[in-house]
């Protein structure tokens, strides 16, 4: 059993896989930043910002796990890295939701670009809501 955990990828293979994963993550970061600069109002900037960013973090965490080379090391790396991914999955939609709702209430949203506006029916914001 320990022999199975000691099986290792050859060093150049593991390095190349990790480099390609990091490169993909970096390109996703760059696409998030380009979308941030390119779009017009806050909700579309949020759309550009949150999704590629989280996928980039996932790819880089996979690269950390792969760069440990042995199979036991990879499993250990995955175990270390999974809390980071879970926290990122939990908190990114939370902040995006709060910022998007406040952008709607603030009027920094392009009203003509909306197809359906279900939020307009509740004119009064409840007292303790965000």
């Amino acid at each position: 059993m320990t022999a199975f955990f000691d099986l290792a990828l050859p060093a150049p293979v593991a390095e190349t896989i990790a480099l390609v994963l990091i490169l993909l993550g970096a390109i996703l970061c760059l696409s998030a930043a380009v979308g941030l600069l390119h779009f017009r109002d806050v909700p579309s900037r949020l759309h550009a910002a949150t999704k590629p960013q989280v996928l980039g973090v996932v790819l880089i965490c996979l690269a950390i796990a792969v760069s440990q080379r042995t199979i036991g090391g990879m499993l250990m790396g995955l175990l270390i890295v999974v809390p980071v991914i879970l926290l990122q999955f939990a908190t990114a939609p939370l902040s995006a939701h709060m910022v998007g709702r406040q952008a709607y209430r603030n009027g920094t949203i392009n009203q003509r670009s909306l197809v359906v506006d279900e939020y307009a029916e509740s004119k009064r914001t409840p007292p303790a809501a965000g």
Binding site: L19, I22, A26, V57, S67, V99, Q102, N106, G107
Partner: protein, 89 residues
């Protein structure tokens, strides 16, 4: 030094510069909040890339803390932004 490593560093640098440009130019404070959130996540990505390239796992606690705490900045700003929605209640 490998070509891929240089490409990765250049791409991270360009992305950070674009985020800083949006932080400076952003018309409202919510744009700046979104851009700073992206910049913080990119710091996390750079820490992870450093771990994977140099083959150590010392930065994991920093990544964990950043992933857990970075949400509070956006939430605090979004709660205390001035509200202009109900001129006549």
């Amino acid at each position: 030094m490998n070509v891929l490593v240089i490409a990765i560093m250049v791409i991270f640098g360009i992305a950070a510069l674009l985020c800083v440009v949006r932080i400076i130019r952003g018309p409202s404070i919510l744009d700046r909040t979104v851009a700073s959130d992206v910049l913080l996540t990119e710091v996390m990505c750079v820490l992870g890339a450093d771990m994977a390239l140099n083959g150590h796992t010392r930065n994991i606690p920093v990544m964990l803390i950043i992933a857990a705490v970075s949400v509070f900045g956006s939430i605090a700003v979004a709660r205390y932004v001035a509200r202009r929605d109900n001129p006549t209640p």
